[in-house]
């Protein structure tokens, strides 16, 4: 259309094009109520998404510009120090976080997979206790993380478990915090396996458990793994409950799982950020960048895994 007007000069070109469009609109079905969304609404939707995406970029950009002078090997290999401000690092906290994550994985994989298998494959939904378990898990997923911190303080740090302010207490607390998420994700993964797979296996003479273990579980495994990876990424970044179970102590030695003080990456970042010296604030920003880099790798891997193994049966 524009070709026929292109020889006309400046304003005439616009006028002619406008007239042409107006006439075309008359004949198009419904005019502005056509197929596309209105311009204003499209703009609003794009603005909304832009804000969400800008937030991620802004946080990354801030962490990079603020912490760029401390993006060195000291950051990972040096321990925390209040004396050597320029070379202090996160090594002890990284070890603490690794221990916490190790404990979390050891707890949530059997507990999460077991509960999900029970609810999806074995539970009789007409029984009140099974409905109670289901409702309970949904509710537990919405309990604030700081409340899990209180649970950890009251049960793991003090009696009945009496572990003290150690990494094991932090690990158990975080494990319970992410457990509902793992169960819900695993249930979705199991639900996505069609019942015909299970029934085929049963028809061939497998027992219930054999069918679940050899057919349903392998088919659901990638989805369940995605849930575990997302839970671990949450465990790495979670700071609030750890404040209550002792991770805020400023320790300069590598932690022991069952005794002595410990620290965790997000908690040490918080600790550094609260100090007035500028070096520590830079160090906190560098720590944020380090943590975000690890998490983005984790989350991307989980997303890739889910897309890779997403099957339509």
């Amino acid at each position: 259309m524009s070709d026929s007007f292109s020889q006309l000069p400046g304003r005439a070109k616009f006028a002619a094009a406008g007239a042409g469009l107006a006439v075309q609109n008359q004949f198009k079905s419904q005019g502005s109520r056509g197929n596309g969304p209105s311009i204003v609404f499209s703009a609003l939707m794009l603005l909304a998404l832009t804000i969400a995406i800008t937030a991620i970029i802004a946080i990354l950009a801030w962490a990079f510009f603020e912490g760029r002078t401390r993006l060195d090997m000291d950051l990972i290999f040096n321990g925390p120090s209040t004396v050597n401000k320029a070379t202090a690092g996160y090594s002890v906290a990284i070890l603490g976080t690794l221990q916490i994550v190790g404990g979390v994985i050891a707890l949530i994989v059997p507990l999460g997979a077991g509960a999900a298998l029970y609810l999806e494959q074995f539970a009789d939904k007409s029984r009140w206790w099974n409905r109670l378990i289901e409702l309970n898990i949904q509710n537990l997923a919405g309990v604030p993380s700081i409340v899990f911190g209180i649970l950890g303080l009251a049960f793991f740090v003090r009696a009945p478990f009496n572990l003290g302010l150690v990494a094991a207490a932090g690990s158990a607390t975080i494990a319970l915090l992410v457990l509902p998420t793992v169960i819900l994700a695993s249930r979705e993964a199991i639900k996505a396996v069609p019942p015909s797979i299970l029934e085929g296996s049963l028809a061939l003479g497998a027992t219930r458990w054999q069918a679940v273990w050899r057919q349903v579980l392998p088919a659901a495994a990638p989805g369940m793994l995605t849930g575990v990876i997302l839970a671990v990424s949450r465990a790495i970044g979670e700071a609030a409950p750890l404040l209550l179970v002792g991770a805020l102590t400023f320790v300069t030695f590598a932690p022991n799982f069952f005794e002595g003080g410990y620290s965790a990456l997000p908690v040490l970042i918080y600790n550094y950020a609260g100090r007035p010296q500028e070096e520590f604030q830079i160090l906190a920003a560098a720590g944020v960048l380090l943590m975000l880099a690890v998490l983005i790798v984790f989350i991307s891997f989980a997303v890739w895994l889910r897309a890779r193994y997403e099957r339509s049966w």
Binding site: A48, G114, N139, G142, I146, F148, I183, T249, Q281
Partner: protein
């Protein structure tokens, strides 16, 4: 294998009962039931941990004071235990967060569910997941060191006071609940049956009209559930408010441009492991924790109700 073919054997005693008791299977079943029951055990422990110190606390301070007084100053020389100031702090954060997150989350959800082409959706969903996965300590530091000074620079005429701001904390919390609201609302809108949309198209409605006048109303209970879940998440958010809203005056303060303590920030700032067990301050953590737990529990139950109603109608 033999168990399931028993019934096919010839003979008078035809039975569907397995001839092998399969104790192994029963043990496995027992273990699986145990893993599922752990979650109930966890909830019970939470309730027990929270409520156990309460009688001791309310024998030392009056429960009436707790719910009516307007100054919160545990650990001060003349401590007062009126919970309202920190409740107000939480409410300001939650309202600001919802003002930010509801329009952005809902518009994103409408776009994702009704307009986005599949490839675009496949990119945006994971990006939102990354936003959801950003540790709150990172968002909090960003909001404290950058967003708060930046907003003051943009709007110097507003009554900014001190380093902290409850409103900015709310905005930052809003950012992290956008993905939650978007994904729950998106799920709700995607499970509205196609036939409803097609009926509207057949009557000549545009895509925009169908989205806003058919799909959104049809999915409204799921969308409300998304808002309630977002609010519940905002109530429980700790690190951001601890960093950005900081601690404020112990009295009531409704100014979002100054700092104020919230319920979560109080718990986190008090309970750093050093505190004496059995002291009033120690017990007050549990009282505030109980209140927090009950508020979020009520909100989650409402959200679950709304989702259930939605599922009932369309699935």
């Amino acid at each position: 294998m033999s168990s399931s073919v028993t019934s096919a054997r010839s003979g008078p005693a035809r039975t569907l009962r397995a001839d092998n008791p399969r104790y192994g299977e029963k043990a496995i079943f027992g273990f699986l039931f145990f893993t599922a029951a752990v979650s109930v055990l966890v909830t019970t422990s939470i309730v027990f941990a929270l409520f156990y110190p309460l009688p001791r606390l309310f024998s030392e301070i009056s429960i009436v004071e707790f719910f009516t007084a307007t100054e919160w100053s545990p650990g001060f020389l003349k401590p007062q235990y009126g919970v309202w100031p920190i409740v107000v702090g939480t409410v300001i954060v939650v309202i600001t967060a919802l003002i930010v997150a509801i329009p952005i989350g809902l518009l994103s959800a409408i776009y994702l569910s009704e307009f986005a082409a599949e490839p675009v959706r496949k990119i945006i969903k994971p990006v939102l997941e990354i936003l959801e996965g950003i540790p709150t300590v990172a968002t909090g530091l960003f909001a404290f060191f950058w967003l708060r000074p930046f907003l003051e620079y943009l709007t110097p005429w507003l009554p900014w006071g001190g380093l902290f701001s409850t409103g900015v904390a709310g905005v930052a919390v809003g950012l992290i609940i956008i993905p939650l609201i978007a994904s729950v609302a998106d799920d709700a809108m995607r499970s509205v049956p196609r036939s409803l949309r097609e009926g509207a198209y057949a009557l000549g409605a545009s895509k925009l009209r169908v989205s806003l006048k058919v799909v959104v109303p049809a999915a409204i209970s799921g969308i409300i559930a998304a808002f309630v879940l977002g609010g519940s998440r905002a109530v429980g958010e700790t690190m951001i408010v601890l960093l950005v809203a900081g601690a404020g005056s112990p009295g009531l303060n409704f100014n979002p441009f100054e700092g104020i303590q919230t319920m979560t920030a109080y718990i986190a700032s008090r309970a750093t492991g050093e505190i004496a067990v059995g002291s009033v301050v120690y017990d007050s953590i549990f009282a505030v924790g109980s209140l927090l737990f009950l508020i979020t529990l009520a909100m989650n139950m409402i959200a679950i109700r709304f989702v259930a109603r939605f599922r009932e109608v369309y699935e």
